[in-house]
């Protein structure tokens, strides 16, 4: 049973460019959340997708956008990259909201984004 998979594992971009990160949820999960983890910090919530719609959003600018596909996989897009966007981006999946209240978040290993 595959867990949460993220691609690519590492990425180097130049300031001002755009980037797309991808996530496939754990089998049986249909809700995907994205977190940004800067070096030496705890993860910060970016947004959550369920039924192909953004359901909740953290304190991130509109440069951060996402998408969820019918197969529950998800993309995180960041436009006009800044040096401060360098971080580990974590995807987490969970079971459907309202069902199985003890269903925890399952995290992928993340994508390390470096902006130069």
């Amino acid at each position: 049973d595959a867990g949460v998979t993220q691609s690519p594992t590492h990425l180097i971009k130049t300031r001002g460019q755009q980037v797309t990160l991808r996530c496939s949820p754990k089998s049986g999960h249909d809700t995907v959340s994205w977190y940004q983890q800067a070096l030496g910090q705890g993860p910060q919530f970016i947004f959550q997708y369920y039924e192909e719609e953004e359901r909740q959003r953290g304190n991130f600018p509109d440069r951060f956008s996402g998408h969820q596909f019918p197969n529950y996989s998800s993309e995180l897009n960041v436009n006009a990259l800044l040096l401060g966007d360098s971080a580990l981006y974590l995807c987490a999946s969970s079971a459907r909201q309202g069902a199985n209240l003890n269903s925890p978040l399952h995290f992928g290993n993340g994508t390390r984004l470096t902006v130069t």
């Binding site: 949460v4 809700t31 959340s33 977190y35 030496g40 910090q41 705890g42 993860p43 910060q44 919530f45 959550q48 909740q56 953290g58 974590l90 987490a92 969970s94 079971a95 909201q97 209240l101 003890n102 269903s103 925890p104 978040l105 995290f107 992928g108 290993n109 993340g110």
Partner: protein, 114 residues
């Protein structure tokens, strides 16, 4: 709004010694509390969670935590640590069962020495 404070950024400890990692939270609503562990170059793994019921929660790898509502704390403990416990530990809070946004603390680096 919710917040989490992890009082120690680093905790060095000798192998087989007991350890406590401290976590305090603030929230205006009922909370659900979690501890996650992150090994180098990996994502986060759930150690344990408090949703309701008994305030003493047992998790994986011999860890346990106690929810103290009056002191707004959720400290993580292990009676005897191993070298393999060396990792970053994160305390997190959610306003529901955790499938919505988690608010994480800044982490505590546990360094187990032989």
């Amino acid at each position: 709004a919710q917040s989490v404070t992890q009082l120690d950024s680093q905790v060095p400890v000798f192998e087989e010694a007991p350890v406590e990692l401290r976590c305090n939270y603030s929230s205006s609503v009922s909370v659900y509390l979690f501890w996650y562990v992150q090994y180098p170059n990996q994502g986060l793994q759930l150690l344990l969670k408090y949703l309701s019921g008994s305030t003493l929660v047992k998790g994986i790898n011999g860890f346990e935590a106690e929810f103290n509502k009056s002191q707004t704390s959720f400290h993580l403990r292990k009676p005897s640590v191993h070298i393999s416990d060396t990792a970053e530990y994160f305390c997190a809070v959610s306003g529901d069962t955790g499938r919505r946004a988690l608010t994480f603390g800044s982490g505590t680096r546990l360094q187990v020495q032989p």
